[in-house]
């Protein structure tokens, strides 16, 4: 540890193993953490608040109507092999990720751009019709489907990052999957760091990129990411001086750490919600009174404080705090067993009589089961309902959710960008993530109205209306808003919390080695 501190190498626990470092193939948060060291988009996370927007490859940008955006690229931007980085690289990259032949999982992240969806679905074959043009080598003009004031923050997502044409096509064609271009020795990036080594299930190491435009302000000499998906193992490594920052903290120990280790235990809100889907195609869950009864009979405060104890917040609606400064969380649901019983009686099941036994579906994790058991117990006690629990392996559980072969299913959603739309957009009719069988023309109309509204307060008011409607019909039952917990060594400087796990790596510094405080106070 002392050696790593002296060498300026930061050691980070990074959750599950990484699947790909190709920004167009990657899908997860661990990938996001590494890719943002190797590549940089037009916009970058700001040093003092990573959720705020700072110049990346673009030095500045403007938009009059939030539909047409002009980005001015810096002239000193280079790929890590010294090739100049220009607007053509961005066009190439967006064409690549949107190409149906590449079949990129996260291509829908670009659908805000005009005609991007049509091109990705193969309905449009001329990329020139997609809303991105490059008037010159250092200017990009992007046209969106509708006004989106939050657009720059979306550009911090790796799906919008540039990839080097000469680097990609050295190992295959533009749309060829599974080539080796994003492996060590081959990968050419434009971020503050260079890919040094990648050992599967072992570590990924990156070193300082001397050709990065802001290399003078990069504080670390390198970073090592360790794939550790077991929180107990990760904690042991941290206490054994092998990690500076962990990705998680064992759930059972969070309360103890919070009480006894405030110097290196850190918690911050995440833009992430845990909720339950109701299959609204199946009686009795097709009755919104039943769904409301279920939602009202849950004492979420007791759940987060006595059962989960991770510092998460009881949800009072769907969209978590932090989605936008103009969109504070709505207070729409509470714990009201009396009203819940009334709703159930109105639906024709007084005291739960005549209600068929329903099943909660979860993935096979210990914590998912614990929460499901809390629900089972609450609904039995408050409403007199018989509930069973079914756990399935992740892939099987996804399949059941998609095919609507469940009654009530556990789910989670993590925001892709800082705007409530990232939580509300998925409940549209026909959205691939809806998976509840529910839809409402009024709801879809409100969402459509919000995408045509450029003025922030009016736009947020429309989204509030939509969320209120969603919570009246309750196809989904929000449970809690997640909090991120991590252990951070005292010598790590400038590590800032972010609701969507953005990090400004170049601002990080390592101070002189300090031993961890003794384990028992």
């Amino acid at each position: 540890m002392a050696q790593a501190d002296e060498a300026g190498i930061l050691l980070i626990g990074n959750g599950t193993d990484i699947e790909s470092l190709d920004p167009h193939m990657a899908t997860g948060q661990p990938e996001h953490h590494v890719i943002t060291t190797l590549f940089e988009g037009l916009v970058a996370p700001a040093a003092d608040d990573p959720d705020a927007d700072a110049p990346g490859v673009a030095t500045h940008w403007q938009s009059a109507d939030f539909i047409t955006w002009t980005f001015h690229l810096r002239e000193d931007a280079l790929w890590s092999d010294g090739t100049p980085l220009t607007s053509a690289d961005f066009l190439y990259s967006w064409q690549r990720i949107l190409s149906p032949a590449l079949a990129s999982d996260y291509a829908p992240m670009l659908y805000l751009m005009k005609n991007a969806q049509a091109y990705n679905e193969g309905r449009l074959t001329d990329f020139a019709e997609v809303g991105a043009i490059a008037p010159d080598a250092h200017t990009l003009v992007i046209t969106l489907e509708g006004p989106a004031p939050f657009f720059p923050s979306l550009l911090k997502h790796y799906t919008w990052f540039p990839v080097p044409r000469h680097g990609v096509e050295k190992f295959g064609t533009m749309t060829q999957r599974d080539t080796a271009w994003a492996r060590p020795g081959n990968l050419i990036g434009n971020g503050p760091f260079l890919l040094q080594d990648w050992r599967i299930n072992h570590f990924i190491s990156v070193t300082r990129n001397p050709r990065y435009w802001d290399a003078a302000n990069v504080g670390l000499n390198g970073i090592r990411f360790f794939p550790i998906d077991n929180a107990e193992s990760e904690e042991r490594l941290f206490l054994d001086n092998q990690l500076h920052v962990t990705n998680s903290v064992p759930l059972a120990k969070i309360a103890v750490y919070r009480r006894e280790r405030p110097t290196y235990f850190h918690q911050s809100p995440e833009l992430s919600v845990e909720f339950y889907r109701c299959n609204t195609t199946r009686p009795p869950l097709n009755d919104e009174r039943v769904r409301n009864a279920l939602a009202l009979a849950l004492d979420r405060r007791a759940l987060v404080e006595d059962v989960i104890r991770s510092g998460s917040l009881p949800a009072t609606s769907l969209t978590p705090p932090g989605s936008s400064p103009d969109y504070p969380p709505l207070q729409l649901i509470s714990y009201d067993p009396e009203k819940a019983r009334q709703f159930l009686a109105q639906a024709g099941f007084p005291g739960g009589r005549g209600f068929r036994k329903i099943e909660i579906l979860t993935n096979s994790s210990e914590s998912a089961r614990t929460i499901a058991e809390f629900f089972q117990e609450s609904w039995k006690r408050e409403l007199g309902l018989e509930i069973s629990i079914l756990q399935q392996e992740w892939q099987v559980y996804l399949d059941s959710t998609r095919k609507l072969t469940y009654d009530i299913a556990r789910a989670g959603w993590v925001g892709d960008y800082t705007d409530p739309y990232t939580f509300l957009g998925i409940w549209r009719k026909g959205d691939g993530n809806n998976n509840t069988g529910w839809n409402s023309p009024a709801y879809d109309a409100l969402l459509d109205a919000s995408t045509q509204e450029a003025e922030t307060s009016r736009r947020m008011a429309t989204l509030r209306q939509a969320e209120t409607l969603l919570m009246q019909q309750m196809p989904i039952i929000p449970v809690y808003w997640k909090t991120n917990s991590e252990l951070i060594r005292p010598e790590v400087e400038n590590w800032k919390p972010s609701v969507i796990s953005h990090r400004c790596y170049k601002a990080l510094r390592l101070g002189p080695y300090q031993p961890l405080p003794p384990r028992r106070p």
């Binding site: 032949a101 999957r177 994003a182 599967i200 299930n201 193992s233 054994d240 059941s400 998609r402 691939g432």
Partner: protein, 307 residues
């Protein structure tokens, strides 16, 4: 002998083909696909993916394509680790698992055989009871309990070794000791059983009657035959240890094969799962063959050519 070897190798090849086929069919029969994510993907993209990887073809065609690529050693890419050939993945993880597995295997024999022999010679006495209690404990305590305990005591408390990781040259010790102790328990019980039975045989009585020294009787005559049941166990044990252990690798954060076994199945990474199953089958075939040869050498009553 040569004929026997060829026969067994041919049988082994059939076993490996069967293992690949069965793995493929099981994993295809399970719900969910390799490209399913918790976020929806457009139907068009999904179809494209299936066409690209040939998943839209009839099952026998898919099976044949996979078998062909394995048999011609032109291995496919992993479905999950994009851009990585399964060969590269196994090549990266194999040295780790082999190091830990070989050390654990040596610990299992070095600890288990003498302990078992000692217990057999002191049958019914206090030494026997102590050894057998320890052995039973070793069999009963799973590695997911023993592993963290070992890491806690020797890593975090005594600081003799790193609690986890694969960086220092001594990082093999704790995982190998964990696996080795557990396997040594079974080895000790088998050695004790085999030796006890052999010692009651007529030819041992004859040897004793001849006046041979007890040490010579045990080492030259008894142990040799007593090892036979143990040898049958050691073949699969070696294959199992060398191919890595998911639990131990997770606890000690080793980048070995064991974790790929589980994660490839969970992620429906067909190609990697098949490659690992085939790899494990090869190890089993090879070690069973070795065991057969060793048995013939130890026991003159088994003649390979007669089989």
């Amino acid at each position: 002998m040569i004929r026997f070897l060829f026969q067994r190798l041919f049988q082994g090849l059939i076993v490996i083909v069967c293992v690949i086929s069965i793995t493929f069919l099981i994993i295809r029969a399970a719900p969910g696909g390799p490209f399913a994510k918790d976020r929806a993907m457009p139907a068009y993209v999904q179809e494209n993916l299936e066409r690209l990887y040939g998943l839209d073809q009839p099952l026998p065609v898919q099976l044949w394509r996979n078998l062909k690529s394995f048999l011609t050693l032109d291995l496919p890419v992993s479905y999950r680790l994009k851009g990585w050939n399964v060969k590269d993945i196994i090549a990266q993880a194999m040295p780790v698992s082999f190091t830990v597995g070989a050390a654990a295997f040596l610990i299992a024999i070095g600890l288990g055989v003498p302990a078992g022999a000692w217990a057999a010679l002191r049958a019914g006495q206090i030494e026997d009871r102590v050894v057998m209690t320890l052995a039973t404990l070793g069999i009963c305590v799973p590695s997911l309990v023993l592993g963290p305990l070992v890491a806690l005591v020797f890593g975090l408390k005594l600081h003799w070794f790193n609690a986890a990781g694969w960086y220092a040259s001594s990082d093999w010790v704790l995982p190998a000791a964990t696996l080795g102790f557990i396997s040594a328990s079974a080895v000790a019980r088998l050695t004790r059983g085999g030796l006890r039975e052999t010692l009651s045989q007529d030819y041992i009585r004859t040897a004793r009657a001849k006046g041979l020294p007890e040490k010579l009787i045990i080492i030259r005559h008894a142990l040799r035959l007593a090892c036979l049941p143990l040898l049958n166990y050691l073949g699969p044990l070696a294959a199992g240890l060398l191919s890595g252990s998911f639990v131990t690798e997770t606890i000690f954060q080793l980048p070995g094969l064991g974790r790929h076994f589980i994660s490839s199945a969970l992620h429906k990474d067909f190609t990697l799962a098949m490659a690992l199953a085939a790899f494990f089958a090869v190890l089993i075939v090879v070690f069973n063959l070795l065991v057969d040869i060793l048995q013939a050498w130890l026991n003159p009553r088994i003649r390979l050519s007669e089989k």
